[in-house]
């Protein structure tokens, strides 16, 4: 089926609805794509950053552990909205930045938003993983030592795999929180789901349909994420289930 045919079918279903036209639904769709893209990329980079940071957070070197602690302290201690404002409006007024190569990234609202979201989620994820690493059972570590494993090997084979499993439920929460927190992206002109809802609201003065529709989309997204993590937990945490013999 071609795009035009699809649009015509949708237009038929809409049946002359004033607010939900093919035009505004297209806006919601663009918003959906932007939200998913923004959240997915920042979570992915945030996760990649969080693993080494979580290991470093427990490092015996005070300089390393304390500076990582300071980073998570700052990013968890301030509202994401403030971080987003700083990334978007703050950087743009650094003298000389408009003439440098960095301007390409600062100019577009997407990159400052990605920057703020990534650092924020990385800070939370670091603390989640750090907690999980710290709570590794002593027996597992002693057993690994008894096998003569090096520290790196112990980390790779024993501590991290079990820590990830224990961190999974908390991390699933963080992913959902991130999705919900991304609703503030519209304040820096990104047309995310909330931005699209806001546009429809202010154009038709119809807050209820505009926001209830977008709430359902967010809910569907949240439930899909929840389902995904439940599936993962079922597979990976099978050894923690009570034994019904």
């Amino acid at each position: 089926m071609s795009v035009e045919q699809l649009l015509q079918t949708i237009a038929g279903y809409l049946n002359g609805n004033d607010i939900f036209t093919v035009n505004t639904l297209g806006m919601y769709w663009d918003g959906f794509v932007n939200t998913v893209q923004l959240v997915f990329i920042s979570l992915l980079i945030g996760l990649a950053l969080a693993v080494p940071l979580a290991i470093g957070r427990g490092s015996p070197l005070k300089l390393v552990s304390k500076s990582i602690w300071l980073y998570t302290y700052i990013f968890r201690g301030t509202p994401l909205l403030i971080q987003l404002y700083l990334a978007y409006y703050g950087f743009a007024f650094v003298p000389g930045i408009q003439d440098s190569w960095l301007w390409f990234f600062v100019q577009d609202p997407l990159y400052p938003a990605l920057f703020a979201f990534t650092l924020n989620t990385a800070a939370y994820t670091t603390e989640i993983f750090h907690g999980a690493i710290k709570s590794t059972a002593k027996g597992e570590i002693e057993a690994a030592r008894a096998f003569g494993m090096s520290k790196a090997m112990m980390m790779r084979r024993i501590i991290l795999p079990s820590a990830f499993r224990r961190a999974l439920p908390a991390y699933g929460n963080e992913v959902i929180f991130m999705l919900h927190a991304s609703a503030i992206a519209s304040v820096v002109t990104i047309m995310d789901l909330t931005g699209a809802a806001y546009y429809v609201y202010s154009r038709f003065y119809a807050p209820f349909p505009a926001f209830i529709f977008v709430a359902f989309i967010y809910m569907a997204l949240s439930f899909s994420i929840q389902g995904f993590f439940r599936h993962l937990e079922k597979r990976l945490l099978v050894h923690l289930k009570p034994n019904n013999r």
Partner: protein, 262 residues
């Protein structure tokens, strides 16, 4: 000639007054609601006196229609419900005529319509009339207001439209260099970008835009309850007179250095 118009309008006012005089409102005060401040339309002077273009215009209209009027302050959110609940009898507070509002209230003839304008940097060479040359430029606009509708309809394929929560945010990003153009209501642009001052980096490009009426509206008008047709008619006649006898132009020149007459 002018005198005959005066006499005529006075006679007209009398004839419309007669049936009114018989009704319940005889000698009653007409209470007019206004949302303060909205400079320069309505604001308070340092000593607390209510003044502004619409205040003076309203007083002139009441004097012309020989009505006793008083001002009631009311915040914008509840201004139409308050009218319907008889807390006051009219709204004279830059209320634009829209189909949604027309369902609830009765509007007089419009008395002003500010133009919407394009603003660009002084050092940019933007030719706003050459639509093809605008391709790839970025324009900032307040989200969901009529200029957003205008841009979305006519410039969606040409310009990148960035939508902001407030006009101040547009100004900030304009200053940060993220925007090539901004589209704003004239008085708002004047307030936030101050583009008329000689050391401002911005300037208006192209003429003021008021068309199509479907988007930019018919202008601001006085709102009444639907049943108060006689009162609305009195205001319409008074408006016609002050527009012609120079009172309106005098007030407009006092408060604005651009044309808002319609």
């Amino acid at each position: 000639m002018k005198k005959t118009i005066h006499i005529l309008s006075a006679v007209l006012a009398c004839t419309t007054l007669l049936p009114q005089a018989a009704s319940a409102r005889e000698g009653e005060n007409v209470r007019i609601a206004v949302d303060v401040p909205y400079t320069p339309f309505e604001y308070r002077t340092a000593d607390g006196k209510l003044t502004g273009f619409e205040i003076e215009l309203g007083d002139a209209l009441c004097a012309e229609a020989k009505l006793k009027c008083s001002w009631v302050e009311q915040s914008w959110d509840g201004i139409i419900p308050g009218l319907l609940a008889r807390k006051y009898d009219a709204i004279l507070s830059s209320m634009s005529i829209t189909p949604e509002r027309e369902k609830q209230v009765l509007f007089s003839e419009p008395y002003y319509l500010t133009p919407s304008i394009w603003v660009a940097r002084k050092d940019s060479a933007i030719d706003i009339d050459d639509k093809a040359s605008l391709k790839g430029l970025t324009v900032g606009v307040q989200r969901g207001d009529i200029r957003d509708n205008y841009l979305s309809e006519f410039y969606a394929d040409t310009l990148t439209i960035r939508r902001y929560a407030t006009a101040e945010d547009v100004a900030t990003d304009f200053e940060a260099g993220r925007l090539d153009l901004a589209m704003m209501d004239y008085p708002v642009a004047l307030e936030t970008l101050n583009f008329l001052s000689p050391d401002s980096p911005y300037q208006q490009v192209g003429p003021g835009i008021r068309e199509p009426e479907r988007i930019f509206g018919k202008g601001a008008a006085v709102a009444f309850r639907k049943r108060d047709k006689e009162l609305a008619e009195k205001f319409n006649q008074a408006l016609e007179t002050v527009k012609q006898d120079g009172t309106y132009d005098r007030l407009m020149k006092k408060y604005f250095d651009y044309d808002i007459k319609i």
